[in-house]
Symmetry: C2
Subunit: 416 residues, 2 copies
C-alpha cells in the first residue's frame, strides 16, 4: 500500500517512547505505575490523539485508541501490545506492537477514512511481571483470563503493594475487573521474535502458530558439606556433583524429545559455596516450555524420575517445587494465519510459521477470541536487554503486514 499524505511511522513513535524510562546505561525501565510508566502512557495517549484516534484509558491504565467503524454494533478488531518493560530492557519488546498499531490505524484512516468495522489499538499497562510478582495485569484483566485473586496485596521490591501503587497513580484499585472486554472479535499483536530463528533462517516475517506454555520449578538438592581435602571421593554426598549430573541429563532429554521443547537451568546457587568445602546444598531453577501441556507434563514427570534416581546414586535428596505454571495458549487462529501468509507472499516477504517460546498478551486473547501474532526479527536473538535491535526496514515490513491484515478485516467486504 502507498501512503496518502503525511502519516505517523512506527519507527518514529518507537523513538519517542524509547526516550521514556531511559537509564544512564542505555537500558529502558518502565515499571507498572511508576513515573516513567505514567509518562509513557501519557505519550501513547497523545500520539494516538495525533493519529486521529479517540483515546480512552480504562480502570487499570490500559490506553486505547479507537477508529470507529460504520457498523457500530459489531465487535472490534484490536491490535497492540504492552508499554511496560523489564528492568534495563530494550526499546522494542512491547512498545513496538503499540507503535506499529498506532501507525497502522493512522495510515488506514488517512488512506481510507472510516472503516466498516471498528479498529482499536491498545497499550496494555503491564505484561512483564517485573515490578510485582504477577504478569499480564493488562491483558489478563481485559480478557478476564487471569483470576488475580489477592493480587492487589502483592508487593514490589520496596514493599509497596499493587493496591498502593494503583492508588498512587490515580487508579481505583477496586475497579480492576471493570476493564474486562467481551466485544472483541480478533486480537492481532506485532512483536519482536526475541529469538534468532528468523535471523538464522533469513526470513522477514514470523507467523506465530502457538504460544508455549511453561512451568518453572526450584530443585533443591540436599547432600552433606564436608572438607574437600579429607573426604574420599567415595564417601561424598556432594549436592553439586548430583545437580551437575541432573543438568547434563536434562539437556540430553530435551534434545532427544525435540519437537521444539526447551528446558533451561538459569539460576543455580551453591551452599556453602566455598572452594575447599564439598557443597551440602544446591538450589537450581528449571524452566520447561512446549506448545502442548501434555508434553510439558510428560517431560517433567520423566525429568523428576531421572533426577531422583541420580540423587539416590549420589546419596543426596532432591525436592521439586513448582512456582510458575502457564498453560500453552490455544493455537493462533488458522484463518488469520492463512491471511498473513497470503499477504506476505503477495508482498514478497519471506516468512515462516514459528512457535513463541515466550508468553504474550495474544496468548490470553486466544482464549476468548481469534488471535494472531506477527514476529519481526530480533538481531542476534537478543531481548530483555538494551542491545535489542530490529532494523527500520524490518519494522516497516512487519507494520505493512499488520496494516494489510487490519485493512482486510475492517475495510474488506468479506470480513472474517
Amino acid at each position: 500500500m502507498e501512503a496518502h499524505g503525511e502519516r505517523l511511522h512506527a519507527a518514529d513513535i518507537l523513538s519517542q517512547l524509547a526516550a521514556i524510562g531511559l537509564e544512564p546505561d542505555g537500558g529502558i525501565t518502565r515499571l507498572l505505575y511508576d513515573p516513567a510508566w505514567r509518562q509513557a502512557q501519557q505519550a501513547v495517549a497523545r500520539i494516538m490523539g495525533e493519529a486521529g484516534l479517540s483515546v480512552s484509558t480504562d480502570a487499570i491504565g490500559n490506553v486505547y485508541g479507537k477508529l470507529e467503524g460504520t457498523d457500530r454494533d459489531a465487535p472490534s478488531f484490536v491490535t497492540g501490545s504492552h508499554i511496560d518493560s523489564v528492568r534495563f530492557g530494550g526499546q522494542y519488546d512491547g512498545a513496538l506492537g503499540i507503535a506499529a498499531g498506532i501507525a497502522a490505524l493512522s495510515k488506514l484512516k488517512q488512506s481510507f477514512g472510516q472503516p466498516r468495522r471498528t479498529l482499536e489499538v491498545v497499550s496494555f499497562c503491564e505484561e512483564e511481571g517485573s515490578r510485582f510478582p504477577l504478569a499480564y495485569w493488562g491483558s489478563g484483566n481485559v480478557t478476564g483470563c487471569k483470576p488475580f485473586a489477592g493480587s492487589l496485596e502483592a508487593a514490589d521490591a520496596q514493599g509497596v503493594s499493587l493496591r498502593e501503587a494503583m492508588a498512587g497513580a490515580g487508579y481505583d484499585p477496586s475497579a480492576h475487573r471493570d476493564c474486562r472486554r467481551t466485544d472483541i472479535e480478533a486480537f492481532v499483536e506485532l512483536h519482536i521474535e526475541q529469538g534468532a530463528v528468523l535471523e538464522r533462517e533469513q526470513r522477514e516475517i514470523g507467523i506465530v502458530n502457538a504460544i508455549f506454555g511453561q512451568r518453572r520449578y526450584f530443585v533443591d538438592v540436599e547432600g552433606r558439606s564436608d572438607h574437600a581435602g579429607t573426604t574420599p571421593m567415595q564417601m561424598r554426598e556432594d549436592a553439586l556433583a548430583a545437580a551437575a549430573e541432573m543438568i547434563v541429563r536434562l539437556r540430553k532429554a530435551a534434545l532427544e524429545t525435540g519437537d521444539g521443547l526447551v528446558a533451561t537451568v538459569g539460576m543455580l546457587e551453591v551452599s556453602p559455596g566455598i572452594a575447599n568445602v564439598i557443597p551440602g546444598n544446591v538450589r537450581f531453577s528449571l524452566d520447561i516450555r512446549h506448545r502442548e501441556e501434555t508434553a510439558i507434563e510428560d517431560f517433567c514427570d520423566r525429568t523428576f524420575l531421572s533426577f531422583s534416581a541420580i540423587a539416590a546414586q549420589h546419596r543426596v535428596t532432591a525436592r521439586y517445587t513448582c512456582w510458575l505454571s502457564e498453560l500453552p495458549s490455544p493455537p493462533m487462529d488458522a484463518e488469520l494465519r492463512e491471511r498473513l501468509a497470503r499477504i506476505c507472499d503477495a508482498s514478497g516477504y519471506a516468512h515462516l510459521e514459528i512457535s513463541s517460546g515466550a508468553g504474550h498478551d495474544a496468548g490470553l486473547f486466544a482464549r476468548i477470541c481469534k488471535a494472531a501474532m506477527i514476529f519481526v526479527p530480533s538481531r542476534g536473538g537478543i531481548s530483555h536487554s538494551p542491545l535489542e535491535y530490529t532494523a527500520p526496514e524490518e519494522i516497516e515490513r512487519g507494520c505493512d503486514v499488520l496494516t494489510q491484515l487490519l485493512y482486510q478485516l475492517a475495510y474488506g467486504e468479506e470480513g472474517l
Copy 2:
C-alpha cells in the same frame, strides 16, 4: 602409662581455650592478632606456666613451653599446633594439638621429672589463613619454608595490613624472620582427622603417612545469554550446561584415578542467574589434592584437556586460573610412624595409616626435620564448624600415644 599425682588434662585445657573467641551461635573465631587471639595466647602461656614449663613468646606471637633436658646442646623434640581458627570454627581444630602437647609435657614432668632431651610444646600463631590471605604464618616463619615476600602488606577484609595488625598487637613487623628455628630434631602434631575415615573404619588412631599437596583454580566458562523460551536447544551456547558436564567429567576422572586423589567443585556462580535466561557465564572453583605433585600435575592437565573439549562441543570457551598451589609435604618420618604403630599395638588402640587431605603445620616441618602426625577421630568427619566433636576418651587415647612417643624420644635410652 599411669599418672603420678595431679596433672593437667588435654580436655580441660581445651575447654578453657574453647571459651575464648566463642560466638553467640557457638562457633569459635580467633583470627591472627585480634583480641580473642591475644586472649587465647595469653591463656596458653598461663596454662603452660601452670604445667611447670618455661614459657616464651617469639617475634610473631608463637608461644612456646619448654621442658629443658639434661642434654642442653641437643636439638629439641617439639609438639603443638595452631591457636587460630576459621571464622565460626570448632574448638578442636588446632587447639587440641596444643592442649594435648601441654598435657603430655605436664604428665611427663610430673611422672618422670627432667628429661634427657629437651621437649617443647608450641602454640603457633596462625595456620588457617582466615584473616589475611596467607596461611602458616606461624610454622612457615619457624621453619623458614615460606618466603612470605611482601606478606606484611597483605590486608584483611577491613583493609588492615598484616604490618598494622602486628604492630597493634605489640609485635615488631620487621622481626618476623627472627623466629626461625634450626634446633629441632622432630616435630609431632596431634590433630583431629577432619574427615570420617577413622570413624568409618572404626579406628581410634590415625598415623599420618603423607600430607597432600593441593591446587586451586577458577574455571571461567563463557557462553551467551539468551532467552530461555525462544532459543532452540540446538542454538544455545549455555555456559552452565557446559560447566555441568565438566563437573560430571571431573568426578568420574577422580574416581577412575583413585589412589586417594580428591577433586572438588565447592563454589559455582552463574551469570546472569535468572530462571528464564540461559546462563552466559559461569565461574567455578576447582580444588585438586594428592600426596604426589606429579599426580596433581597430570590430573590437572588431563582435566583441562577434557574441559576444553567439552567447551568446544557447547560452543563456549573455558579459561583456567590457578590461585593456590601447595606442594605435597615430604612423607612423614618412617621411624616415627613405626614407633607410633608399636605404641598403638602395645596399648590396644586400633590404628591405621592415613593420608591428610588438609594441610598442617607438620607438613612444613617435614621439609626441615623429622615429622609425625597423630589423628584422632572427628565425629561425622565434620571440621571448620561449631559441630566439630571428638569424644573425651578419643582425646585421651590420642594424648596417651603422643605422651608415650615423647617419652621414648626424650627419656628413652635409644633416642631417635
